[in-house]
Symmetry: D2
Subunit: 341 residues, 4 copies
């Protein structure tokens, strides 16, 4: 059994990592850290884990060497911590934003502080097997993209890669309340957050930098908080190039994702679920990707949906683990999602 | 114009008082206090008041004499403050729990601290016009009952008054998230609270003491937090006395509430809204009351629903003001509620 | 008292018209029609009207002459019926889509059938006082715009009127479930609709034709069904012209809407409600309008929110009535909305 | 591989059976019937099954012999059909209400029609392994209890079995909207059902007959429709016998369920999830059971929660299959549920 540690296990991403790793047939969870909750039972904070584990949180200082360290700590704190973590885990899979952006200047612009350890950045591989599976088979340092970035990148990549779109990209992202984390403030109380359409990032959001980096295009992103607890949906608007039409778009998606275990192309003529919908993806590692084309106005709308704690976080991290270890990529990630829910 | 002050205006009850008082044709809001937010605009915290007022919060110490002081401060703190408040307002209408229970020993059992000023308790009239309108026409000190207590008392009173039920009463109360207040903790974050059926008081809840006091019966109350933001619904189970039947029950409700402006008897044979439902009462001061009778098992289920911030709080307080001033009881409380919502 | 009739009173817009008209101080509801429900009590279908009226639905054929007929009938059926309705009501205020589009060819393209009575179209004034109050003071035939169109037109008009934006407009509209109506199909069952982000119109929606007509620009509209029951929010993206900057945009909104009773400019620097949010507008006739500007990318995002059954339908209709009769424009439309909800 | 058929696969229980059976390692789904949808793809109705199957619905008449037939057809229709189904499947697992009640007179009272085939009733075993696992190891005919009955029976059984409670039982059941099925009527539209607390069965519900049958007590059940899509929670109130106290109650639950794979005893001193909560059980086959005791009033409140489509239906059916075939009881039912959700 592979021994893994979850560094920062008190939050929602940490809890989701634990759910997946405790159920994973080839993994043993050696430790879960939380300085605030040190000594308390893990299932006291994550009630869905009752009966799965008797683990208690341990302080970060008590962490011992392990095969793989999954890191679910806040942005800007993780980069300070990383040198220590690299000594603890033979492999490190980071879910923070600190090693996603290759250009330290871009990092500083979007995170408001200079990067503490720019030299480490290029040693991390992007944790998105659909784009760089080959490198991930040998990568010992992985940085998982942001939840909205994963959705937008998977929605747009077949179009940009095939040269079917031109010019800037606009991304309208909608995200559920779990994205704000388990320590979110009063503005995320149920009474304030319930039923909202909260445009919290009207013109720019951090994740647009990741999308630009992956697509090579200028991206303008709007982000809205919606009623869901889990779930991200992105609507990406682009302009078709010269001769490109709906047939080319459809072919690009089909070919690009034919063999991907976690991407479904959803672009049906009718039905309430004819385009990607986060609602049926809760708990699954799937990213549904679809599109609509208006040849007259030369517009393509690329749509993607996922569970922000799964394919948008913990699920992608475990997928990267499977790729790195040469295990079946779907191992421990088989849950297909529910309908209705 | 009558000059009123809202003492403790940063919370949800305080905000609802402001909405009602700012729209009330015979009232002028002279001051709103919040030490924490002193100097900040009121509509920054209560966005629905934008365009209705330019008021800012003032510190409690700056409060000047006014005709009526509405008090929306936390339990156990209000009783300490009351002597000062009684000097500020010619009339005081209190929405805390501190002056609801006539017996200080019962107060201590349910609130966990001895009452700071037992001598004041009998000087307060219960702020429920449906039960003691006469006294409220002259009462200068009013204590508004708790939201779940209002619903249960109005549901049960026709039965106990007419001697139609015998023995103990069980009350199953369901309440929305606004009841936890604007400063509720992490367990009330949207991600934790959304869609819950949280049995937070399985066998006893404070409000049962108010129901016992008003009905003269032993009451066992269960309270569950539900998805709604606003709204309380209570299901009260009682045993019919000897000869009593459905006809007697129906007559008791019809006669008791025939002339009440804010109580509707809702007990239809069919339809999705055949019994009281909080959903259609948001923003209204109505309490819908209904019942179902099973003569075979000698059981009556009394059901009531209301908006916990309105008839369960701020609305009842304004209703008491109207009664005291001899104004039309519905003045400023005409909103009927929405369907669908 | 003015005698009014509601033609088609069984739906959600019809019910909202009834709520407003029954509470309106200068109006008497003479009749409510529904062939399907003829003879049944109105409050059986609209439970929030209990206690407000004993009216029953009457068949359309039984309708007698009245001062004003409000028409809330389905698209494509209303135009057939209009000649009869014009004989019944001295004034007619129509809430269907049949008289919104001035060009019959555009109507046919968006509604899929040729217009039955093109000659009548120019006799209807657009029921949006913010744009044509003057004409509405004398108009006996009014056509109220669609809910998403009202929001988008009010969001965009200050920009297009002041020449601050150039090129095509994209509108990302989000709408609640009541928009599908009281007779919506199985895809709108709670189990299917709850929590959705349903992109039901990915690239074109009927209402874009109304927005184009009002702004003189090409519009590409995406529509998504969201969790809310009531509420529309639109995000409109446009490109700033040459020298235009945030200051110009802010001035344009402030000046355009300074004296409007039902439009609030909401564009704050921070806070959860710093941009328009439908959540706090349920039951109110307000349309909140705001914006965000990114001078670097020359982009402006105009945002608007409203209650689709109120300012997006019944509320605007009553506002038009007030304008036509020379009554205070806010009469019967004073409800400010709730927070929290 | 065992060949199974799902008879009545278009509904929510049918869809959940398909999800479980398609992912089950020892089973092959041979056929899914729906006369209405014959010829259409299964994943067109159950979008979460996309990528899991290319099956199409077949008409009932085309059904061929199989090892096990799972029957998810409406009450009162299933009993007519059963003789044919018994020829098709070597084993039959029925999820309708038609073979749950041993006394045909009781069936007629609760279902409103005489039973069509009373002789068959005693040939069916109750599909609740926690109560009759032994019989289920050999039973070829199984009838799965109703969703609210499963919850209430598992909540009450340790108390009645150990003789800790006396007298009648009251059950307050809350249920999500999926219980009304995929063909529910207009009263279940999102706009009508969202956020409700709909007391649709104030004093009696069918499932109380199953609870009486399993516990040997008189049961009075109230049922309320709540906001959730999936999920049932029951609050069962009983009176403690003579010397019984909290310690006895705790011991009874611990001992009764110590070795049960799908029952967790949840009765903590504090925390938002200290009693059973459906919210964290979506998609899992767990039934969480807990209790609260008030020795002074001799009252015990037994609480249980489950996913009505899983442990309350399809999940219990697959659990019975595993028991019958001698497979590990958790096979294909490992999903633990999500937090947050």
């Amino acid at each position: 059994m592979l021994s893994v540690a979850v560094v920062g296990g008190s939050g929602y991403i940490g809890g989701e990592l634990l759910r997946l790793l405790l159920c994973h047939p080839k993994v043993r969870v050696a430790a879960v850290t939380s300085d605030r909750l040190a000594g308390r039972r893990v299932d006291g904070v994550h009630p869905n884990l009752r009966g799965l584990t008797d683990l208690c949180f341990s302080p970060l200082d008590a962490l011992e060497a392990c095969d793989v360290a999954f890191v679910a700590r806040p942005h800007t704190q993780t980069m300070e911590l990383m040198p220590r973590l690299l000594e603890i885990g033979k492999q490190v899979i980071d879910l923070s934003g600190d090693f996603r952006l290759r250009d330290p200047a871009v990092y500083e612009r979007y995170y408001g502080v200079p990067h503490a350890d720019p030299g480490l950045i290029p040693t991390f591989a992007m944790g998105l097997p659909e784009l760089n599976r080959e490198r991930l088979t040998t990568a010992d340092r992985v940085s998982v993209p942001g939840c909205m970035a994963v959705a937008a990148i998977l929605a747009l990549h077949p179009l940009t890669e095939a040269g079917l779109v031109t010019g800037d990209l606009t991304v309208d992202a909608r995200t559920g309340s779990s994205g704000a984390g388990a320590a979110a403030g009063e503005v995320n109380l149920h009474a304030e957050r319930s039923g909202v359409l909260r445009v919290f990032a009207p013109l720019h959001h951090r994740h647009e930098a990741e999308i630009s980096q992956a697509t090579g295009r200028d991206v303008r992103m709007t982000a809205t908080g919606v009623e869901a607890v889990r779930g991200v949906q992105v609507l990406c608007r682009a302009t078709l190039t010269g001769g490109a039409g709906e047939r080319d778009v459809r072919r690009a998606y089909r070919e690009r994702y034919r063999d991907e275990p976690f991407v479904r192309v959803v672009a049906h003529r009718r039905g309430p679920y004819r385009l990607p919908e986060h609602k049926i993806l809760s708990g699954s590692n799937l990213c549904d990707v679809g599109f609509a084309v208006d040849e007259e106005s030369r517009t393509v709308l690329a749509v993607a949906a996922l569970d922000n704690l799964m394919k948008g976080g913990a699920g992608s991290a475990v997928q990267c683990l499977n790729v790195r270890l040469g295990w079946p990529e779907r191992l421990g990630l088989e849950f297909p999602g529910l309908h209705p829910i």
